[in-house]
Symmetry: none
Subunit: 216 residues, 2 copies
DNA sequence: CAGCACATCGCCCAGGCGGGTGAACGGGGC
DNA sequence: GCCCCGTTCACCCGCCTGGGCGATGTGCTG
């Protein structure tokens, strides 16, 4: 019994390419093609495909909205986002909408076929970078809580743009100790520089996003 | 030697009140009164007062223009804006024109006397809110506009937590060039580290406050 | 009590960063 | 034409940062 695939992409060239990619595999059958999100939802409703290959950037209804609509109605249908853009917001949006996979269009044909079969079986299929985004999103709040009280305190001062030396003075501890705290903070947040740690703190509001002092 | 004060206000009531306020202090002498800006300039030219208490809203010539004229001619004469309105444009205009102080008319008599003496000694006298306006409205936009297009571009990448090397790769220029831009940015913003530059950019929204990429 | 987490401090080292200076090039204004 | 500005690049120097490793004391917990 072949896996029934619905293709949703606004570029006919891409649809054609995908059909050729998948057509060679007897285990896969392309049962329909949609050129926008709304059409994808409509066709999915009629055809009950096993897997929908969903482009994210489409007219009328974007792929994420379409994914959410399909997943809400058709519990057996898995959606795999297949796009050319790799952005954290897109990845997270697609996953929240219920996509089981997030793949890039530069994928190899054989790899794509394998991924579709895996997705049909309910296995998650993510481009490595996509999983990194996901992990970050998930890990973020935990990363906050992983910080000790003292580390949060140091982070608060980092967010005010202070140097290690200044922080040491503020907290009445040695600069070396501050460095230790900063190292731990960066390790826990998974960042590579104090600036990134500050951005991290501000984005996720780990630290009271007070105005802080003007940089002197 | 008493401090010689010139009062410039178009309301006789205010002039009278000020004269009474100041008359009690032996260290202060009201040497003249003007009822509009032009008259204030004329009297200042004749009397060479130490301090001019300048209302901003006056007929014929407003207080800001009068302040500019006086400061241009009489280097020894300090001008203190004394007004009932607190607006950023008025504060900035007065300061640009050369006022050393910006006070509100609801000030206490004793406080006003103290402020006049301080102004005569060259000390800045600003209502707290006035200095806030100065910071926000004057310093910030000028700092922003002082940046060149390329520097703003670099700052945008700084805000994303990139290192100099990464920025160089992104912009296809040498790391040394990036360093030059970063130096200029920090100098113009008046900050001491890249982190502070980033905070500056975020606070004042110099840069599109996009989410930026996750630090890899 | 032994173990663990936390905070503290130290040292080493490499690489990044910040400051100074200089120089070349092109474009625009005087 | 000349000069200023923006952009590019380079070199030097010294401090700061980030990573690794170790050590001590304290307080909580099993």
């Amino acid at each position: 019994m072949a896996i029934r695939v619905l293709i949703a992409d606004d570029h006919s060239v891409v649809r054609e390419g995908l059909r050729r990619f998948l057509g060679r595999d007897p285990e896969l059958t392309v049962v329909g093609e949609a050129s926008d999100g709304a059409e994808a939802v409509e066709l999915a409703r009629q055809l009950h495909p096993d897997v929908v290959l969903m482009d994210l950037l489409m007219p009328v209804m974007d792929g994420i909205a379409a994914t959410a609509a399909i997943r809400k109605e058709l519990l057996e249908t898995e959606v795999v986002a297949l796009t050319s853009v790799l952005e954290s917001t897109a990845v997270i949006g697609a996953v929240r909408a219920g996509a089981i996979g997030y793949l890039l269009k530069d994928i190899q044909a054989s790899e794509l076929r394998r991924a579709i079969k895996a997705a049909a079986a309910g296995q998650v299929q993510l481009t490595p970078q996509a999983s990194a985004y996901l992990m970050r999103e998930v890990r973020t709040p935990e990363a906050i809580e992983a910080l000790t009280e003292r580390e949060r305190e140091v982070l608060r001062l980092l967010v005010q743009g202070h140097s290690n030396k200044e922080i040491g003075r503020d907290l009445q501890i040695a600069e070396d100790t501050v460095k230790t705290h900063v190292k731990h903070i960066m390790a826990k947040l998974g960042v590579q520089s104090r600036t990134q740690a500050v951005l991290y703190a501000m984005r996720f509001g780990l630290v009271s996003t007070q105005q802080g002092k003007q940089p002197k």
